[in-house]
């Protein structure tokens, strides 16, 4: 698995966390960012280092 893919997943995670922090007064944005983080969890799970 290309290390670049893992790096990209990490960037999505950091971006979703930043979004949550920026929009903490907006439940829709917070929840959608949380859902992105659920998928980040799965993306990490399915791209382990061999």
């Amino acid at each position: 698995m290309n290390e670049q893919i893992r790096e990209e997943i990490k960037r999505i995670e950091e971006s979703a966390l930043r979004l949550q922090a920026l929009a903490k007064e907006n439940p829709a944005l917070v929840r959608n960012a949380e859902i992105i983080l659920s998928f980040v969890y799965i993306l990490k799970f399915i791209t382990p280092k061999g």
Binding site: E34, I35, S38, I42, F45, I46, P48, G50
Partner: protein, 435 residues
């Protein structure tokens, strides 16, 4: 594309094992800090002790009875089985409760999507693709059945037709109306749809179904082939459960099932002591650890599913461990007159050699000191009296050879035995004590 996840599905076995052990340690750490059950059960265990597959045996198995005890704790309704904050739970599921009080299973958005991802492997292996219009002939409810299939097919990009609120004839007409070309169902219900279609003058093979994924009950190879013949389609099997999730599925080779690695760490242990990993070709009990579902941690869950361990290689190129066959549930195995009996053997014989039998039921009862085993068989309505009599004798002979038991065979009138939508209940043990 042949694989859903080409990277995971072709990893060398050693890499898969290494990843699974690493995930196992992570899940063990998580369970010890988030699940009351494992805080108590594994308090003296350190995840770092688990370095090899052999080390797993240092940990106790988890069984349903202790889960029921911990479920009684707070918070309601999941108690000490919950692995997350209650407010993060987004879906309630439960087991059917056939062996006792149901287990309530919490899913968070994350854990549910994790289950769905594992299920995508099963559907993709069975050849489901975005061009498939998938008919689901069931009402979904508190049980997990078909919810996973629905969401996984959607994730794959298929088009879903939820066909719950119709009777069987209505479903047949809907399949034709919308030109559905794939289906998910129990083997029993697949046979029932075929029977109903024929009764209204429709050849099941003209329904246009190309792919069928079966679930919910053990499917003998003869039943799978019969469904393929009836519908003129490819039929695939998979195995799973509410607690451990769906953990293995059949590929295009249609020879056993691939364990969905590294989502699950599956041990197949000898049924006498549940200690030794069985050899290829040997029957064992499947013990499962789902490696990424945090809402409901399960460490070494004893499924009580009996399976035959298969090969580690496959013409399809996937490298995951296979199971050759699902034998049945430990709970379904019975001793009848001292002989170990599995109802699946009877289904295998009937579906393979007696297409003229539409439905059947097996009853074991005790008369005096003797166990009596009866097969109630329902022949096709067009069978003549002499053919029915001939079939009865042939059934007795074939069952004697296959099971080593003498069956009392009763031929019943057409349409007299119950038909089933989900899991069939064709086996009834009426003895008070089940040896």
């Amino acid at each position: 594309m042949k694989y859903w996840n080409p990277y995971l599905e072709t990893l060398p076995k050693e890499a898969l094992t290494r990843i699974e052990l690493s995930y196992f340690r992570d899940m063990l750490s998580y369970a010890k800090t988030h699940s009351r059950l494992y805080q108590d059960k594994l308090k003296d265990t350190s995840p770092e002790e688990i370095r090899t597959l052999e080390d797993l045996k240092k940990l106790p198995l988890t069984d349903k009875e202790e889960m029921r005890t911990y479920q009684e704790m707070n918070p309601f309704p999941y108690g000490g089985l919950l692995g997350t904050d209650l407010e993060k739970v987004t879906t309630f599921r439960q087991t059917s409760g056939t062996t006792g009080k149901p287990i309530y299973v919490p899913e968070t958005y994350e854990s549910w999507q994790w289950r769905i991802e594992a299920w995508c492997h099963i559907l993709y292996m069975a050849g489901f693709r975005p061009h498939h219009r998938v008919f689901l002939p069931f009402v979904y409810n508190v049980y997990v059945a078909f919810w996973e299939g629905h969401y996984a097919a959607e994730k794959l990009g298929c088009e879903l037709i939820p066909g719950g609120g119709l009777d069987t004839k209505g479903r047949i007409h809907k399949i034709l109306e919308v030109k559905a070309n794939a289906m998910m169902n129990t083997p029993t219900y697949g046979l029932h749809i075929a029977e109903e279609a024929k009764s209204i003058g429709i050849n099941p093979s003209s329904l246009g179904i190309e792919r069928m994924l079966c679930a919910g009950e053990p499917m003998p190879e003869a039943t799978r082939r019969r469904l393929e013949e009836l519908f003129g389609c490819h039929v695939f099997d998979h195995i799973g459960g509410t607690e451990p999730c769906a953990w293995a599925g059949m590929c295009e080779a249609k020879d056993g099932m691939h364990i969905i690695e590294p989502f699950f760490l599956v041990e197949i242990l000898d049924r006498e002591n549940l200690q030794r990993e069985v050899e290829e070709g040997e029957i064992g009990v499947a013990v499962i650890t789902p490696l990424g579902r945090r809402s409901f941690p399960l460490i070494r869950f004893n499924t009580k599913d009996l399976v035959i361990k298969g090969e580690s290689s496959c013409p399809c190129g996937r490298t995951s461990q296979k199971i050759k066959e699902v034998v049945g549930r430990m709970d379904d195995l019975r001793k009848v007159r001292g002989v170990l009996f599995s109802p699946k053997t009877v289904e295998e014989v009937i579906r393979k050699d007696f297409p003229q039998i539409e439905e059947f039921e097996i009853i074991v009862e005790r008369r005096g000191i003797m166990d009596v085993i009866t097969l109630r068989a329902e022949p096709h309505p067009e069978l003549t009296v002499s053919s029915i009599e001939k079939t009865k004798h042939e059934l007795q002979e074939r069952l004697k050879i296959a099971t080593n038991l003498t069956f009392n065979v009763i031929m019943e009138p057409p349409g007299s035995l119950p038909r089933y939508m989900l899991k069939a209940k064709r086996f009834k043990d009426l003895r008070e004590e089940k040896p």
